[in-house]
């Protein structure tokens, strides 16, 4: 579906403001948020997202999560790039329909620069590892 990522983003942002208890940062998300963006806690991170603190959000890619634990409920990772004031960023989210929550899988500076370039687009075409 062409606008799949737009729906995911819209619903994720809505969940951040209306049901923050359903947002679950996993992996190193909170440590990265502390280290790179001075966001100290989970509520602070969700408040930032809910209050449009992720500027110029743009869709990056959609991938099947490589750590899917079951074939019955495959999880998809939607990644987006953003800026927060002067800093570029990368966020990857997963809608976990089985448990009815949202996972924030990654939240850190982009590893390949902040602006989409021809090289980035080429990388997208040939496939690239999850950040």
């Amino acid at each position: 579906m062409a606008d799949d990522h737009a729906r995911i983003l819209r619903e994720f942002l809505l969940a951040c403001s209306e049901t923050p208890e359903k947002i679950k940062p996993i992996n190193n998300v909170l440590a990265d948020a502390r280290y790179h963006y001075k966001i100290q806690t989970k509520p602070a991170l969700i408040d930032l997202i809910a209050n449009n603190g992720l500027e110029q959000l743009s869709f990056d890619k959609k991938k099947v999560w490589k750590k899917n634990f079951t074939d019955h409920h495959p999880l998809f990772v939607y990644s987006f790039k953003f800026k927060t004031l002067h800093l570029p960023g990368y966020i990857a989210i997963i809608e976990n329909k089985m448990l009815g929550n949202w996972l924030i899988k990654s939240f850190h500076p982009p590893t390949k620069g902040s602006n989409p370039t021809l090289a980035d687009k080429f990388q997208n075409l040939i496939g690239q590892p999850e950040e």
Binding site: N27, N28, V29, A31, Q40, T41, K67, F69, L75, M98
Partner: protein
Amino acid sequence: MSQKTHCPVCGSTDISFSEHYEILSESYGGSKEILLFENFCNTCETPGDFEEKNDGIIQSTVDELKARAVVNILNDFIENGFNLSSMERVLELPQRTLAKWKNTGKPSAAGVSLLKLIRCFPWLLEVAEQNFEFQSAQKIYISTAYTFIANNSTYMDPLKIKAEEKSPFSGMSYTFNDNSIRNVTINLHSSTDRDFHSEQIINSPQLTCDR
């Protein structure tokens, strides 16, 4: 009855738990080592703070370091000859505000940011004195930059530079020619034997500054 921890990814309750130390730092407030917790789902191999235990520990440590930063910053100002009441006047804060912050160590988040800004850029107090008038602010900023250059661009604590400028033995003054920041005369004064020759201009280079 203790509630079992569930993995937010797969829902499993087969969760293990570990601890690690992390250092939190706060500018002007120092650092503190804290013990943080991490869960690990043995079913889907996802790590994270599933029990959300760390937020409280981190927040209280950040609050403690910020309180320490407030006290340190205000002590720096006092030790360098700044008067808190005068600073309150310039910043248009009610009298005793800074003293209260120093004693309780608990200003608002905006108060902590204000203190860090004036500690990092003490010349902002002069800008505030000039009612944040833009042209005056630029001149103050440029003067500060020239002072930095005149000190061979080596790092000097801006607060100490500021304290030295307050002294009658200050080595420099600036004249903004044609009321423009683009053309500045720097007057270097001799202070041999602690005598201050305010009219004796040793060198008066004409420097221009391109914006």
